[in-house]
Amino acid sequence: MGSRSVLPIAFAWLMGISALAQGPTYGIGRAPTTEEIRARDISIGPTGQELPPGKGSATEGATVYRTKGCAGCHGATGIGGTAPILKSRTPTNPDVWARGRILALRAPFATTVWDYINRGMPLNREGTLTPDEVYALTAFLLFINGVIPEDQVLDQQNLAKVKMPLGDKYASLPDWKPRTPRLKGYPY
């Protein structure tokens, strides 16, 4: 008997699956609220669209740098501490790549600097800096590397527009595809 009665059922079942393909299949997981997402989302992209309101200048940043203990690990001037240096030792080298791997110098976007200070500093007290303090510290690091003037105020609107010395002088990553060699034409 089977086949005649099973086929329409199987067909209906398949239709059901394809209809579900656009929606959730398992219904597991909870929808976070907009506020929850905003609170957890600390990823700042190159457009700066996620930046919170706030502002700060290098002058203010110099004070934050002292009072928040940055100097303790990075040195009073951004050089000479036990943590990575924050200022180039060869700031006048016309080749940006030769000035060293300094975040506030080699990052293609000022948002990269803001994002890192905000998510990762100060060591063991991450998340304690206010947005104003992060803007100020970003301005301070950009200033000591000669990227912006000392009195420039960075904020939610202009941070992403800062012209970084690296510009677009970096290689983009390969357009990755599954089951393809890591570098086309590389004989190995």
């Binding site: 190159p46 293609p108 998510r119 990755w176």
Partner: protein, 415 residues
């Protein structure tokens, strides 16, 4: 903890004997006489019953990689290498799995009951999953290696732990990221995803959506138990075949975005040359002989099974060859077990050492035809002279030679 302190010293002292481990063998008892009985552990010495401890005679341990100690003066843990020379199967024991941190990290002490993974950004339905939620979903179990970008042999390195110990292989169990993303509904504009961990630097890397949909998985299991804290407990993102840094530990958030997000880890991947950038992304085919390897000693001429591991970020290993004459003749090695995609496979080659000085090495080819090069070949590709100053651009997957002296001592062929 009673037996813990001497363990390290004992390891150092027994290092030579262990390393030359071919010289084992107890004296045979006289005919008809019961063999000497080993002393017995009564009850427990180190938790043998509740959570099996290994024999006190097995002392191999991880070591800090490179010059930076772990923990360092700040209490940060940096890079720690696995003792590959002692690994006997394809699985690296969880306690010995290598680990590395972005800039040095404290170890997050995550309560799995409080931990959630949030997926948001360019999706139709942002979702937050608890660890228990993930365990309800269809699961996969796969063998995968992870390798640190800094896994590079140098002239100073003596053992295979120092030359290749920043790579390990484990059995990972979890949910495919594609399962979760389908549940959230990926918007057409999503091209990249950013994964974030719970450590203090909250490592964030941009990765292609194509990779997410292909084979990324969110692992809660490692070698049959929960993922170890140093490897990301309670959730670790596996990005099979990509550099270690992408395998986000303590995974708590995934954001789908429309462009490369250029956060700290992405910044670390910048290079001037697109070829180098590509060679620092998906890991190339690589193999190394672990036995015999640097700092070991062959007790005399005669039979030895040469064995080691091969892996590739491009897929499964298709072929491994071994040379026992410094690279003049290459012989096909056998696989021990079936090679799997982006996983260590174990190879072996039977060898009779004639007692003369020689050099042994291995090379491999993966399923998409990528071949493991020698450093000479790589130098030629880049139009560079091959000498002591040559450094392999991108992640180093070059052939590792081991020199064998007439006295049986094995040393790094690059030394």
């Amino acid at each position: 903890m009673r037996e813990k302190r001497p363990a390290r010293r004992e390891f150092l002292r027994s290092g030579a004997a262990l390393a030359g481990g071919f010289t084992l063998g107890a004296a045979a008892p006289a005919l008809g006489q019961a063999p000497n009985q080993s002393p017995m552990i009564k009850g427990e010495r180190e938790g043998e019953i509740a959570y099996g401890a290994r024999s006190k005679y097995v002392t191999s341990v991880r070591i800090p990689h490179g010059s930076r100690p772990s923990p360092d003066n700040f209490g940060l843990t940096f890079h720690v290498a696995t003792p590959l020379q002692d690994q006997v199967g394809v699985i690296t024991p969880s306690s010995l799995h290598y680990f590395a941190t972005t800039r040095g990290a404290f170890l997050p002490d995550v309560d799995p009951k409080q931990h959630t993974l949030m997926i948001h950004g360019l999706v139709d339905r942002p979702l937050t999953f608890t660890v228990d939620d993930l365990k309800r979903l269809p699961s996969v179990t796969r063998l995968h290696f992870i390798e640190c970008a800094g896994n590079r042999s140098s002239r100073r390195a003596k053992t295979v732990q120092e030359t290749h110990g920043m790579a390990s292989n484990a059995e990972w169990t979890g949910v495919l990221l594609s399962t979760l993303l389908k549940e959230c509904g990926v918007k057409g504009s999503a091209k990249w995803f950013v994964a974030e961990g719970a450590e203090e630097v909250k490592g964030a890397s941009s990765m292609p959506i194509a990779k997410a949909m292909d084979d990324c998985l969110i692992a809660y299991g490692m070698n049959g138990e929960a993922v170890r804290p140093q490897n990301g407990f309670p959730l670790r993102l596996m990005v099979p075949g990509f550099e270690g840094i992408f395998h986000t530990k303590w995974l708590q958030r995934i954001k789908l975005v429309d462009q490369y997000y250029m956060n700290y880890n992405d910044f670390g991947h910048l290079d001037q040359d697109h070829k180098i950038a590509a060679l620092e992304y998906q890991i190339g085919p690589k193999s190394v002989i672990t036995r015999p390897s640097g700092d070991q000693r062959l007790p005399g001429k005669g039979f030895y099974e040469i064995s080691g591991f091969a892996w590739s970020g491009g897929g499964a290993i298709k072929q491994v060859e071994v040379s026992t004459d410094g690279g003049k003749k290459w012989n096909k090695a056998e696989f021990r077990g079936t090679p799997q995609r982006m996983a260590f496979c174990r190879f072996a080659y039977p060898w009779n050492w004639d007692g003369n000085e020689t050099e042994i090495m291995s090379r491999c080819v993966d399923e998409i035809g990528q071949a493991q090069p020698t450093r000479e070949q790589i130098a030629k590709y880049w139009n560079k002279t091959f000498d002591q100053t040559f450094s392999v651009p991108g992640l180093d997957n070059s052939v590792q030679p081991w020199k064998i002296a007439r006295d049986g001592s094995v040393t790094n062929g690059f030394a």
